[in-house]
């Protein structure tokens, strides 16, 4: 058994806005009735979080729950725990119609940090990133350039961007180029 490596292998682009490979992150796609108590309980159990409200992200370090759609969450756990977490969920939801699958390896995960991070995002996604419209804990699935991506903003104002693994380089470079192009001065 080898050491797992994230697709971006730790790439970092330092600057006024820094784009960084967030490294390996355990991710579980959970589909089911999000209102069901058993679902609530097991989500709490593996992530320590409640069911997030529509378009919200509840994240604490490497654990969290992201609202993907009315019947889908993306659960965050430490990479090494993903398989075990899936087992836990499957066990807990036996008899309840659901789907829980480990997608940790199917994703690339980067962060965009620093003043101006919002503008870097706004150069690539058709979303209102003004502080008033997109605050800490807000979550959105949209495009980054030409590919699907999901992102949320943390308390420090950094953006966390999750895309499919195979387009990790594309997303990273798009954000890097946007960061290097400098600020617009239109979003705080």
């Amino acid at each position: 058994m080898s050491e797992p490596v994230s697709f971006l292998g730790g790439r970092v682009a330092e600057g006024a806005v820094t784009v960084r490979d967030a490294g390996l992150q355990g991710m579980i796609t959970l589909r089911g009735d999000l209102a069901a108590t058993k679902v609530k309980n097991v989500v709490k159990k593996v992530t320590g979080q409640a069911i997030p409200a529509q378009r919200k992200a509840l994240v604490e370090g490497r654990r969290g729950a992201l609202w993907m759609s009315p019947d889908e969450l993306l659960l965050l756990v430490p990479y090494a725990e993903a398989e075990e977490a899936v087992a836990t969920i499957t066990k807990a939801l036996r008899g309840v119609h659901h789907l829980a699958v480990n997608v940790s390896d199917a994703r690339a995960y980067v962060t965009v940090e620093g003043a101006g991070a919002a503008e870097v995002m706004a150069k690539n996604a058709p979303v209102d990133f003004s502080a008033a419209a997109f605050g800490a804990g807000d979550f959105r699935r949209s495009r980054v350039g030409q590919v699907a991506a999901a992102f949320w903003k943390d308390e420090a104002g950094a953006f966390h961007v999750v895309s499919f693994r195979s387009v990790g380089d594309y997303v990273f470079d798009l954000l890097r180029v946007s960061a290097e192009a400098g600020p617009v001065g239109a979003l705080s």
Partner: protein, 1003 residues
């Protein structure tokens, strides 16, 4: 001559002189100049040549409406043609050359066209150049093409970068004149999120040039005050050098920001395209002055009156020592007065109106200016620049009363509101007879997603030419926009300006009124395209009565300025010719962008590797390091083959195949789609999706399945594995992963939403490696960790376990006909697993193979390939796949379509194998010809090749193809013509060329 005055120029920084080049001449200007003002300051009156007649052309305007003064700018990767000098800010080292002439600007052979003008009227080319036919292609057209265009096309790679920016606002204000600023102020005070875009580098627009006083202070001060107030508001964003380029559906606004054009040493993107979503948009885009149509109105030295005033006030440039002003309205008097106040000579104001002007007329006369009322210009004198004008009665036919020497003519035919942005998305116009202008009709605004209007106009762009009226209009617009955006606007009085009483303008479309043919042939409407009054009248006479017809026939308004100066004058002439009112004629359609914008800006950062994403598998790095020859498969890059040093691609493919069939080969199959389908109704669902049964597949087993569209056509195939009681894993083609996933969601969400099924696309969770060949098992046994024997893991089964310490899922499936294991491992371990296989496989002679090897081996086995054997018109029955169509099921997607009469027709082309008699390879895409010809004299065909390769295994060409009644014609020989005129004969045969019994894969 045209010179720089010792003083004046509100935009100039005389402290910073700039050097620039025009046609090799080194010239000086100042910071704050435009290229146009700097050229005029250096007495460079002639700047270019017109499109058709190569007439001398000089600066006529001072802004975005300029049709004449276009130049080639820069060199190499910075070269840019057709740059408007009037909107090009001067910078140190600017390098410009004039366009559309040979050999020189001053002496241009093309000018000979002007002599033949009478033989080149509008649309003449539709009536000639027809015979003899070959002449068109070889003589006429090349000649016409050579004379095409103005600027040279860029040759070098664009050295600049571009970017996009998404922005969301309550109110977007387009235009930073006093009206735009006032509207923004009102919206801003109401708390709206406001974006103000001004296309030039400076705020204030015309008012600051005309010396208006607003709220008791000079316009300049008032503007500074308002801009400061706006800068203080956190909810307001201000941008200069940012043009409102287009208004699109649902409040989508395009902003074109030019970041480095004014100073190329600046770093960063050259242009930024603002993609704005606004609840309300206010266009405060001002108005454009109209030329007057008199003979010789195209000579260098004839400018718009407002432009002459701009050059004087903004840039301290006097375009002429002696300027004759000709007008049909009071505003042009301001130019005369400004010139005289600057100590320059104005020999006369020629006013077409018998009653002349109001208060400004009195001022002019008081300053001793000769005012000729009810008069007109019969013609302008001069060859390459103005030397004088001939005076006549406006009411007459042009009999010359007097001649006045001058070197500049400042003309004004009245003003037209800039309604382009209002109109882009369907805003309607109404004709204002008193001011002879089309103005926006607020009752018929462009409507948005909610069906309500989302564009307002403010100030002169509404048709309010007086400053006080414009400010009142802007105040109302700002408040209305804020209100419509859901905010509460403030109340209070709008600022008031010191307007003077003006006499109404008089519509003057031709000067003099009774001008004859000779004069009309010299009266220009479209300066750049050389469309004259006589051309429009000819079009009308020939029956091109719709304004669109006239435009397309004469090319009026189709030049780079899109008719900003010419459209209204043109359609007025057309209306006169048709004896109908102007609104009856109507306008042509206003299309975005307002002025041309760079393709680079529209493309943004999506260039080269960022043009479209390249999808990479976990082993991509290894492929690159080992010299893979890649081929694009959708957005993926897959190794086609791994040629070694000095080895040809074809040889490499053959080596990989032979080795796989004799030892063991390795294929990166990670791109294959993998979809988890789970739930109590999953089996039932898959039975509908696939043509065969999947619900009865035993846990632990695999089955090959086909999917059709509702049209019955084969769309995808792959191996399905039953994971547990209510979970299946469906493999799709590489291209099919996302498509089939979406297809499943479509049916689950929109048709069978009560079925309990969830789907997840786990394609990229796994690196999938096919270990293929007689020695595959030995290799896996060497890795160890699980039993891969035939007994525990037979053909068409799967198992979980570990190999060499890697957690894996192993499928015993084969697309090559060999003993084959497809092994899925977590993507993050993919590269390590691949490396391990190669290392441990050395002793077995392992070699990776690429997609071409894959294709050849599957063809040797007669397996079909979606996209090769299918093309959107092929049903499974055509491919002999009836065995994969369940007879038990009463329904599946595509079943009903396959019952359509023609689908069961025995006459269809069906799949067979093809063996060339001489062993050669049939060319790709070859057709088999049949007997006879069709109505059009074309040879009939009876089949075509779908896959064709050289088989290193059989050492001959093999192919599959769709042939008319193919399976019934085994052994028949059909003929495939080749491009070189020869043809290949092939025998119809079984499509399985290798291991017909299928023993090798089942060991």
């Amino acid at each position: 001559m045209s010179t720089r005055l010792a003083s004046g120029g509100r935009l100039l920084n005389r402290g910073r002189a700039l050097e620039f080049q025009f046609n090799g001449k080194r010239l000086m200007g100042y910071e704050g100049d435009t290229l146009a003002s700097a050229l005029l300051a250096n007495d460079q009156m002639m700047v270019g040549r017109s499109f058709k007649y190569h007439r001398p052309r000089g600066v006529v305007a001072s802004g975005a409406e300029e049709p004449n003064a276009l130049v080639n700018l820069g060199k190499g990767g910075k070269f840019e043609p057709n740059q408007r000098t009037t909107t090009t800010e001067l910078f140190d080292g600017l390098y410009a050359t004039s366009q559309n002439h040979w050999p020189t600007l001053e002496f241009d052979i093309g000018a000979i066209n002007a002599l033949f003008a009478r033989f080149l009227p509008a649309g003449f080319y539709y009536k000639t150049f027809m015979t003899p036919r070959p002449f068109w292609k070889h003589i006429y057209e090349p000649f016409i093409r050579q004379s095409a265009g103005l600027g040279k096309a860029p040759k070098d790679r664009d050295a600049d970068t571009y970017e996009h920016f998404y922005f969301y606002a309550d109110v977007v204000v387009i235009g930073g004149g006093v009206a735009g600023l006032q509207a923004a102020l009102e919206a801003g005070k109401a708390g709206a999120r406001v974006l103000v875009m001004e296309q030039t580098a400076d705020w204030g627009g015309r008012a600051v040039v005309d010396g208006v006083e607003i709220a008791g202070k000079p316009a300049d001060d008032w503007v500074k005050g308002v801009v400061q107030a706006l800068e203080k508001m956190e909810n307001v964003t201000l941008r200069t050098r940012c043009m409102g380029a287009g208004v699109y559906d649902h409040g989508y606004i395009l902003g074109y920001e030019r970041l480095t054009d004014h100073d190329p040493v600046l770093q960063g993107p050259r242009h930024r395209l603002w993609r704005i979503r606004a609840k309300q948009t206010i266009t405060a885009t001002g108005a454009i002055e109209r030329p007057l149509s008199f003979a010789g109105n195209d000579l260098p030295g004839v400018l718009l009156a407002g432009a002459v005033r701009d050059y004087l006030v903004n840039w301290g440039v006097s375009v002429g020592d002696r300027t004759v002003v000709v007008t049909n309205n009071d505003d042009a008097y301001r130019t005369a007065i400004a010139l005289v106040d600057a100590g320059l000579s104005v020999p006369a104001i020629i006013d077409a109106r018998p009653e002349g002007a109001g208060a400004l007329g009195a001022v002019a006369k008081a300053k001793g200016i000769r005012v000729e009322e009810g008069k007109a210009i019969a013609k302008v004198k001069g060859k390459t620049r103005v030397t004088g004008v001939a005076l006549c009665l406006q009411a007459g036919e042009g009999a010359v009363i007097d001649e006045i020497a001058c070197d500049c003519v400042a003309m004004s035919g009245g003003w037209s509101p800039v309604v382009h942005l209002w109109s882009h998305c369907g805003g309607k116009l109404k004709w204002d007879d008193a001011q002879a202008m089309f103005r926006p009709d607020p009752a018929r605004a462009p409507t948005g997603a909610d069906g309500e209007g989302f564009v307002l106009t403010a100030g002169t762009s509404s048709g309010e030419l007086g400053t006080t009226a414009a400010l009142a209009d802007a105040t109302a617009a700002g408040r209305a926009a804020a209100k419509a955006a859901g905010l509460k606007p403030k109340t209070g009085k709008a600022p008031v300006a010191n307007d003077v009483d003006e006499t109404p303008m008089a519509a003057v479309w031709l000067m003099p009124q009774g001008a004859g043919a000779e004069l009309k042939m010299k009266a220009w409407l479209d300066y750049q395209n050389d469309v004259k009054v006589s051309d429009v009248q000819l079009a009308a006479r020939e029956g091109f009565e719709s304004v669109e017809h006239t435009k397309r026939y004469t090319t009026l308004g189709m030049a780079t300025d899109q008719g900003k100066l010419s459209n209204i004058n043109g359609l007025a002439i057309l209306s006169q010719s048709l004896n109908q009112a102007i609104p009856q004629t109507g306008t042509t359609t206003f299309r975005p962008p307002y002025t041309p914008i760079s393709m680079g800006a529209i493309g943004g950062s999506a260039r080269d590797e960022l043009f479209q994403p390249i999808r990479k598998t976990p082993m991509h790095g290894w492929h690159v390091e080992n010299g893979a020859d890649f081929e694009p498969v959708g957005h993926w890059r897959r190794p086609y083959s791994f040629p070694r040093k000095g080895e040809g691609l074809h040889d490499a493919v053959n080596r990989e195949i032979v080795n796989t069939r004799t030892n063991v080969g390795l294929l990166d199959a990670s791109t294959l789609g993998k979809l988890i389908v789970k739930g109590p109704d999953a089996g039932r669902f898959l039975d509908m999706l696939y043509t065969n049964m999947m619900s009865n597949l035993a846990i632990g087993k695999c089955r090959y399945g086909l999917m059709c569209t509702e049209n019955g056509f084969l769309t995808d195939d792959g191996v399905v594995a039953r994971i547990d009681e209510d979970t299946w894993l469906c493999h799709t083609t590489t291209g099919g992963a996302d498509r089939i996933h979406a297809w499943m969601e479509d049916w689950l969400q929109c048709e069978w939403w009560d079925w309990k099924v969830y789907v997840a696309n786990v394609t990229e969770q796994y690196a999938q490696v096919a270990v293929v060949g007689p020695k595959a098992r030995q290799l896996l046994e060497k890795l160890g960790g699980m039993d891969v024997s035939k007994e525990t893991l037979p053909f068409m089964q799967w198992a979980d376990g570990t190999l060499g310490g890697f957690p894996v899922r192993v499928y015993r499936i084969s697309f090559s006909g060999e003993l084959s294991y497809e092994i899925a491992v977590a993507a993050s371990h993919g590269r390590a697993f691949w490396d391990r296989l190669l290392k441990d496989g050395e002793e077995f002679g392992i070699m990776p193979y690429g997609t071409e090897g894959l294709h050849v081996m599957r063809a040797e086995k007669g397996f079909i390939m979606i996209g090769d054997e299918t093309d959107g018109t092929v049903i499974p029955q055509d491919l002999g796949l009836g065995w994969a169509i369940s007879k038990k099921k009463d329904d599946y997607l595509g079943k009903r379509a396959q019952e359509r009469s023609h689908m069961a027709d025995p006459e269809r082309w069906k799949l067979v194998g093809l063996e060339t008699l001489d062993g050669s390879v049939i060319p790709d895409g070859a057709y088999a010809v049949g007997e006879g010809h069709n109505a059009n004299g074309q040879r009939l065909t009876q089949g075509r090749v779908t896959s064709t390769y050289y088989s290193p295994t059989l050492k001959r060409g093999i192919a599959m193809g769709l042939v008319h009644r193919g399976p019934e014609r085994m052994g028949e020989i059909i003929e495939f013509p080749k491009v070189d005129g020869t043809s290949v004969k092939a025998r119809i045969a079984d499509q399985v060329f290798y291991d017909k019994a299928g023993e090798k894969q089942d060991v």
